[in-house]
Symmetry: none
Subunit: 409 residues, 2 copies
């Protein structure tokens, strides 16, 4: 028995082939608002997606594990073929990606929170009274100016996020380790020092630099009324993932309007396609423009999730219909495989991400059609793909695109 | 990368939420008696369960592995979320639990068999001619009186089971190890000594004590006509499982009429609810009484299995109908999740446990309904849960009860 992995299988068997489109409507899965009713997707008029479902196969995709409500980062990792339990991405990295910060493999990123402390250093408000974002911007600039160049061999970046939240990035050689957070998680306590739990040289060095920066930053903030203190959480490096481009031998591109999704996709080696506008139609414009340059296209539609989070059932239905109308333009490009799915469910009824498996449609001229003839949760539950882990999609996309050689003789 | 387990995931994500009911009809799954016929569950009139199936999701649950006929102990462990291949419970422990013996973590338990040996000690009948249970009771009392206090630091318990079978328990500090059985498994051989295969101090000590007890016991039995010898098998400790209460953060109770099921449930930390009577209606009386005291309720209905083992198709059908009539009383308590399933199948046609996956109904106000509108084997095979391992139920119960936080950002 060997430590042969699914990724090794892909590396061994990959070959050239047809193009693959992964169209993700964020938070696609839903629920009926009333017992006996229909979900958002089932309510939407989707003649084009229904036709694809009839020609292809359907199923319900599990992003993390059955019953687990996914965050957006791990849910996308799973669609890209990475088991998110095994390939964890630090919160700091996700926060940096979320504001469009382009991380490198030499970066250590953290989520920062401004806080209020009393004169003895005890925290009285862990969120500094949720200062306005304008003030966050001013404070980040103040810190950037005062500490950006404080280390001879490392660069510091302090970038505002929202209210009391900011991103801290330390860039340079020899960073790493398993670093603890400074937030004591309750008021009436002092911030904790960063410590390293890996026992490595890199970890010790990184903890030293972070503690030096924190001390200096608190001096800089000392005269602030509310944000006179700060904490760092989720301190982590780019996890240095094996790249999708290498595992599957695909030249891959991300077409997304929001920074977070460009960020996650670039973590696994996808090129970011720049384009004007933020509507699905602008994304399909971009797809048509770069069609000849790539083998794999990850297209991300955001608003289905946003409307779900808002509890706006009708707007989510409408956004799905908008995407449906664009489907003929994708098929006209003659792809080998089109997968239409979500990263997770965001039922308007719950106004939140949820654990419900995600309706998924797998279309290809070589797909074996099942009995499903429409795209929807109940229909997908009857599909021949069954309930499956999202990481199963990439190998099937590869085979249906003619991109995998035979295993064994 | 870490050795992060499913249980760690539950520990990390657990939070407070709604109540969960796990209603197990033992041996629920069945088979048609004739080709083209219906199973016991499909024959039963179950308007309440059918309504729940229409509102919730259905599937077929695999207790151990596909094709494996489960014993009751491992089948229940699987429903509680423990993969029974990984979390094995010694047969001695199960036998002790089966007669209602309350084990402690200092107990070493074994299945005992009375046997017949000739004057040179060679076994001539491994079951002592299947002596009547009355004689078993007399012999156990004789052994208890003669050996109960033979060790200064350890207690001995000898409890009758049935015919030639008894339970042996040794209680005290420092017991353990990996202990071999004494039964040579064929006649014409002498009993084997107990040996320890763990190489530990505890193992060596335990083997010594057990061999001393066996020698003394055989002296006590020397004048018996048939049961003049004995063997110990499946010698094991309470496995010291991680507790369901801790893994999921649930205050949990078992409502069952039979000792074995109370025993297995208490092994994973459930409180045993005492009540008068042994019918399903008495169990629901108890449920109503303790409803406010717990988060999780495991209700066990025994007779569905017993009638299956008897080959009594009609009586099994009737018992399922009895349970169906009680369903409105459960739903009136306003649970967050109700799971109705079996631990395994016991088709009347086979008069035995079987490996057939178990029809399972998952009801919750937050469940996404599938196309299934009745509770039965064929219908469940069309459900959106598909064919799934029984250990998948607990995480889904947790999420639908609002008891899991989001994974990742």
């Amino acid at each position: 028995m060997s430590a042969f992995t699914e990724f090794d299988l892909m590396r061994d068997l990959q070959q050239g082939g047809n193009k693959i489109v992964l169209l993700v409507m964020d938070g696609l899965g839903g629920l009926p608002m009333q017992p006996g009713g229909k979900s958002e997707l089932e309510t939407a008029k989707t003649p084009n997606l229904d036709k694809m479902a009839a020609e292809g196969m359907s199923g319900l995709s599990v992003p993390i594990r059955l019953g687990i409500e996914p965050g957006s980062g791990p849910a996308h990792m799973s669609l890209f073929g990475y088991d998110p339990i095994r390939y964890e991405i630090g919160r700091g990295v996700l926060e940096a990606l979320g504001i469009g910060f382009r991380m490198t493999s030499n970066d250590l990123a953290a989520r920062g929170n401004f806080a209020t402390a009393n004169k003895d250093g005890y925290i009285t408000d862990r969120r500094a009274g949720r200062i306005p974002t304008d003030e966050c911007i001013r404070l980040c600039k103040k810190l950037q100016d005062a500490t950006g160049d404080m280390f001879p061999d490392h660069q510091v970046f302090v970038e505002p996020v929202k209210e009391h939240r900011f991103v801290f990035v330390l860039r340079g050689q020899g960073l790493g380790g398993s670093l603890t957070e400074t937030d004591p998680l309750e008021t009436g306590k002092k911030p904790l020092p960063v410590t390293d739990e890996s026992g490595s040289e890199e970890g010790k060095h990184s903890a030293d630099l972070l503690n030096q920066w924190i001390e200096k930053a608190r001096e800089v903030l000392a005269d602030e009324e509310r944000a006179n203190c700060l904490n760092l959480r989720g301190i982590a490096k780019d996890p240095g993932l094996p790249l999708l481009t290498e595992i599957y031998g695909l030249k891959a591109a991300v077409i997304a309007a929001y920074p977070m999704y460009k960020g996650v996709a670039s973590l696994v080696g996808m090129d970011v396609v720049d384009f004007e506008g933020d509507r699905p139609s602008h994304e399909i414009d971009a797809l048509e423009r770069v069609w000849n340059d790539y083998d794999f296209f990850f297209i991300h539609v955001k608003k289905t999730d946003s409307y779900g989070e808002d509890g706006n059932f009708d707007a989510k239905v409408h956004e799905i219909e908008v995407v449906d109308e664009l489907i003929p333009r994708i098929l006209a490009l003659n792809p080998g495989v089109v997968i239409v799915t979500g990263d997770h469910s965001t039922p308007a009824k719950m106004r939140s991400h949820s654990w419900h498996p995600v309706p998924t449609l797998f279309w290809s001229p070589l797909a074996r059609p099942d009995a499903v003839t429409e795209f929807g949760e109940t229909a997908a539950g009857q599909g021949s793909m069954g309930v499956f882990h999202a990481t199963n999609l990439m190998p099937q996309a590869m085979s249906h695109a003619g991109r995998l050689k035979r295993f064994g003789a």
